[in-house]
Symmetry: C2
Subunit: 376 residues, 2 copies
């Protein structure tokens, strides 16, 4: 354990009506105002976007995926280049997951043991072993400001017996991660699992937060359960995470998820959904979700995608042009759509922060969740 | 025929040693300094690039493809939106080809008659007829600053007898195009054909240039002949086109082609090659062509793609990162590569113009064509 942590958190304005808080996260690569949505740059780019596109969208922190970067270009190459920041020329803050989620998604080609997880690459079938120590080494080579502990992320619908066994091992792995952690510029966050078993979640929070880590995350949501089950689970336990540390809900989510789980006390969110759905022509707007391929609706629509949005796409192009680019499979469609969806979520979180500052968040959240903008 | 033409040309500095000239093209959407390379926006976008990317690359004029835009989104929709400029939000100058090249590429699914060409859409097999009158109507609906006459573009290796017959028809079609042309803001350019038959080219130049059109083009090059044959053909006839009108070489080309054919007296070039090859990882640089997928060469190369280039890609990213993006098939690779290749050709032509102004073009061209930068 390294202390004082380089990544630290300040809760500026706790909400009086919900568990939400307006906060601020200091990192070696700048301040991140919270609650915040973090776009995912899986293999070293937020798909289709340049760093400048992200700065223009007011993105201050992005994710990298340890599993993907370990396979290509390899963490040693990244370290030799002075870290992922330099390799991809990203000047903001950065977080890497532990690869656990990806490795456990490799059904049938991985084996979990006390030592770690043996898996085969989805690219070439080559055999690899991830241990807590190895993963921390990889993450430190990648050099993000925030690195995540190596955990097991079981499907939500696994049995209680399986979770009991898995959680005990994840806790042991967390201690091994903490012992392996050496790099001061990379702050280690612990991850709480437990699926939808509320008592197991609470018990695991106690175990994980017994370590004085710079931040804590809820993992194992959005892995098969319904959104309602996820919301209920997060609402039950997020506020039990330490108030003086950032609370990160991994792999979530949609506009509805962001507002709902902010109420539960979450400060940080990440999800591939807004960029993935953008590439598939599904766009969040203040008037609801737009499925841009719909000819009858959009082929002749001269208006912007979202009249209330100030992103590059909405300032410059019509729905008709976005429809045309999408159905003709022009690459530009993916980029313009991604710029918008990222901007939409970043702007939504800026609005959430403003409402928290004004003490009007609970009313805003209620109104938002009953509006057409409450997309999933 | 409309006169005086809204698009007009001034030869500023004719070269004393070659047929090259430093010129200026006035259009309703700004001045274009010549010689110039024009990127191609086939279906309403220069693939992967926004208008702002193109402005940043100092692009002042782009192309649209009549055949593709006629099929999708349709010229009537474009007209209803106030033209292609507004539809795609491009503020610079614009030129549309006549669709002839595309239609004649549809081997086996088209039929040429005096009236026009019947063809089937490559998208859905639907049957269409392009006549000179219809094509001019489509181009006027699209509303580019420069529109091209509807011609037949035979393969370079067609027989002399075929060319004789085809050229006579193309001349008759040109008169029909000229009679159909009504829109003052769209200036009609005539197209000279004739393959590699020098006498036929010269005769067709006389026939085509007998009409007082605002500009003239050489079509039917880069359609099966070798680069050397193309260079020889262009060198033989380009300078015979009227000196007071812009001379446009259609569908050409590479850095070598641009410099060589500028010597022959060409003012305007277009080609899909720089953006297409960019998407395939082939990059023009001052040090020669870079095949970015080559692992042994570029996986650990920390330098910029071209140390002499000032484009966004070269200012911000290493060859190693471009290699990584390309082999991981990230969409961003296509965009960063396209930004560079377009910038490279635009900058090459800016250099050509400067050398012409200084009276040093012939020496520059000789040196360039003997340097590693003479890519094909």
């Amino acid at each position: 354990m390294i202390s004082p942590h380089l990544v630290h958190f300040e809760s500026l304005v706790p909400d009086t009506e919900t568990h939400a808080r307006r906060g601020r996260l200091w990192t070696p690569h700048g301040i991140v105002e919270t609650p915040v949505f973090m776009p995912v740059g899986t293999v070293g780019s937020v798909k289709s976007l340049t760093p400048d596109d992200l700065y223009a969208d007011d993105v201050r922190i992005i994710l990298g995926n340890t599993y993907h970067l370990y396979l290509r270009p390899g963490h040693e190459l990244i370290r030799d280049f002075g870290g992922l920041h330099k390799f991809i020329n990203w000047k903001g803050a950065m977080l890497t997951d532990s690869g656990g989620f990806q490795v456990f998604s490799l059904k049938g080609i991985r084996k979990i043991e006390e030592e770690g997880v043996t898996f085969r690459s989805h690219l070439d079938g080559s055999k690899h072993l991830f241990t807590p120590e190895k993963v921390i080494g990889i993450e430190e080579a990648i050099g993000a400001d925030i690195i995540m502990a190596f955990d097991e992320c079981p499907p939500a619908l696994e049995s209680r017996a399986y979770f009991e066994k898995s959680l005990a091992r994840t806790t042991r792995w967390l201690h091994r991660c903490n012992n392996a952690w050496k790099r001061e510029q990379s702050s280690l966050f612990g991850i709480v699992q437990g699926g939808l078993f509320k008592d197991l979640r609470r018990r695991h929070i106690e175990e994980v937060c017994a370590l004085d880590l710079p931040g804590f995350a809820l993992g194992g949501y959005s892995v098969g359960e319904s959104p309602e089950e996820m919301h209920e689970g997060v609402a039950d336990c997020a506020h039990l995470l330490p108030a003086d540390r950032p609370r990160y809900l991994m792999g979530v989510g949609t506009p509805v998820d962001l507002v709902t789980c902010t109420m539960a006390g979450i400060d940080m969110f990440d999800c591939v959904l807004p960029t993935r759905t953008a590439r598939h022509g599904l766009l969040y707007t203040s008037q609801g979700k737009v499925v841009i391929k719909k000819k009858a609706l959009y082929q002749r629509d001269e208006g912007p995608l979202d009249p209330n949005c100030n992103c590059y796409t909405c300032r410059n192009f019509s729905r008709a042009y976005l429809h045309h680019l999408f159905i003709t499979k022009e690459i530009l469609a993916m980029r313009l759509n991604s710029i918008h969806n990222v901007h939409y979520l970043v702007t939504l979180m800026a609005r959430v922060r403003k409402e928290l500052e004004q003490g009007t968040f609970a009313a805003f959240a209620k109104e938002f969740l009953n509006s057409p903008a409450a997309c999933r």
